[in-house]
């Protein structure tokens, strides 16, 4: 496989509703998700997640076929799923700037 032809997003498990970025996506890049081409509104870094389908607040986020938390906001297909729109179902995560629940500047 040639490096340049690798898709920037991978599906880890058929039950997942997110895709994982394996190659840096830039704002404005066209990305193919579920037979649809979406223009990414922001940069997405390697290791980050985007929605495979439109998701609503309260939806469980599935990765590796297992729940990894819940949405707290709606997110459009192809958009970033991260700490600003999802939360832990166990213990809240902290960051350097927010020691309880993080809100991004997006």
């Amino acid at each position: 496989m040639n490096k340049t032809t690798i898709a920037p997003l991978i599906l880890l498990h058929p039950d997942d509703n997110i895709l994982v970025c394996v190659r840096q996506i830039r704002a404005g890049d066209a990305i193919d998700i579920e037979q649809e081409t979406i223009i990414s509104p922001i940069d997405i870094g390697v290791g980050h997640k985007v929605a495979r389908f439109a998701l609503a607040a309260g939806d469980k986020v599935c990765r590796y076929g297992a729940p990894i938390g819940s949405m707290i906001e709606t997110v459009a297909k192809g958009h970033h799923v991260h700490m600003h729109n999802m939360k832990s179902d166990y213990i809240p995560s902290h960051t350097r700037t927010r020691q309880t629940q993080y809100r991004s500047e997006e």
Binding site: I6, L12, G47, I68, M83, S88, D89, Y90, Q99
Partner: protein, 405 residues
């Protein structure tokens, strides 16, 4: 796996085999740290390591940990440095190390004439210990005699896709060869307790595994923070359970043969979960204040080698046992190649499969066990942290006889 794979080991008087012949210089309270460090600095030898416990108050766990690391199979001798008034039972520790057949000496700063005098005596003591350790018989050590621990540090969204499952493949191969593998950090297995319990070799062990993860969740809730660092989020991880699912894949797919606590040596080959979260009501603070505290606990359980996976890029090694770095993220690898042993990020770029990287990790384990310095070891990383904890002994269901299952 070729059962003839072997490496030249040091045969200790207690029958255990080591892949290194380290002299440890151990301070028994922070007040003896500077003197101990000066002795290690003056010795200027990659196999003379500084370890120690900073506290002045007594603690059973700290004592057991010091005993376990000073009598580790990779250790050929120990020099204990005491200030003189701390609580650590230096006479008993010295006696326990001697009972393991290892040479050991004790210097008490208050009795040895102070800083300069103790450093001078310490340097002479290290030379004597090195001479004795050099006499230890070398014997072949086989793969099934090896204990390998794993930890992840600085995880990101790639860790659970590349480095962690690749270590899992390596663990599966090692367990198939009847070697002993240990995974840990129950606070980073929150969310995985049910699937993990299903892999236990007895239902009773499964109950113990679920209980120890519940204990971890309670403990971290009281602390107010999960085992989740800001860098985890920068790297794409969002929640503790997402990090857990990725971390869990380091364990591979073998059945879980037992649940151990720091200082317990697994009784036979197989896969073991190390419970690192203290028992009883939370006290003394976070279970492990940073990665190296967990590495030392894996080493106290007999780990000869540590497999350390990282996404964001950790540079640490450890005293006593070599640490092999497996980098999950190809971008991190390019930035920090000088600190990494294995680039599992190649999996993301289509240049290698999980199985190929798993085999490469296994080959690194064999090479390092055979004497090759791991990258962090060669760079002189010899981190060591030991703090206060409280543990009850493991329950009767934690180490079922393996063949019942």
């Amino acid at each position: 796996m070729n059962s003839a794979i072997n490496f030249p080991a040091w045969l200790r008087a207690d029958g255990r085999k080591g892949i290194r012949n380290v002299i440890v210089v151990a301070y028994l309270v922070e007040c003896a740290h500077h003197v101990s460090r000066m002795i290690v600095n003056r010795a200027d030898n990659i196999d003379v390591h500084l370890i120690g416990f900073p506290g002045c108050y007594p603690n059973q766990y700290a004592y057991e940990m010091m005993r376990a690391v000073c009598t580790h199979p990779n250790v050929g001798g120990a020099l204990l440095i005491s200030l003189g008034c701390e609580s650590m039972n230096r006479e008993k520790l010295l006696k326990d190390i001697h009972a393991s057949g290892r040479p050991a000496e004790l210097l008490v700063i208050q009795e040895a004439g102070g800083t300069k005098s103790t450093i001078k005596s310490g340097i002479e003591a290290v030379a004597r210990l090195q001479a004795q350790a050099a006499q230890v018989e070398r014997v072949p050590m086989y793969l099934h005699e090896l204990i390998v621990g794993t930890i992840c540090g600085g995880s990101d969204g790639t860790s659970g896709i590349t480095a962690n499952p690749a270590v899992g493949r390596c663990f599966d191969a090692l367990v198939a060869a009847d070697a002993t593998c240990i995974f840990e950090e129950t606070g980073e297995l929150i969310g995985c307790e049910t699937i993990m319990a299903d892999r236990a070799i007895t239902p009773e062990l499964g109950v113990e595994i679920e209980a120890c993860v519940a204990k971890a969740e309670h403990y971290y809730r009281v602390m107010g923070f999960g085992s989740f660092a800001p860098g985890n989020a920068d790297g794409g991880l969002t929640t503790l359970e997402e990090k857990s699912m990725g971390a869990y894949s380091k364990s591979g797919s073998s059945p879980i043969s037992g649940l151990i606590k720091p200082g317990d040596i697994p009784p036979a080959g197989g896969l073991y979960l190390l419970d690192v979260v203290p028992d009883g009501e939370p006290r003394f603070g976070f279970p492990n204040i940073s990665d190296n505290a967990e590495i030392i606990e894996l080493i106290a359980c007999g780990s000869h080698v540590i497999l350390f996976t990282t996404g964001r890029g950790s540079v640490v090694g450890s005293a006593i046992s070599p640490v092999i770095k497996v980098c999950a993220n190809p971008e991190t690898y390019r930035r920090l190649a000088e600190d990494m042993d294995v680039n599992a990020g190649r999996i993301l770029e289509g240049e290698a499969t999980l199985d190929e990287v798993g085999e490469e990790i296994l080959q690194n384990v064999i090479d390092v066990a055979s004497g090759k310095r791991s990258v962090s070891e060669d760079l002189g990383h010899q981190e060591f942290i030991l703090t206060y904890k409280t543990f009850e002994p493991i329950g009767p269901s934690c180490l079922p006889v393996r063949h019942i299952a």
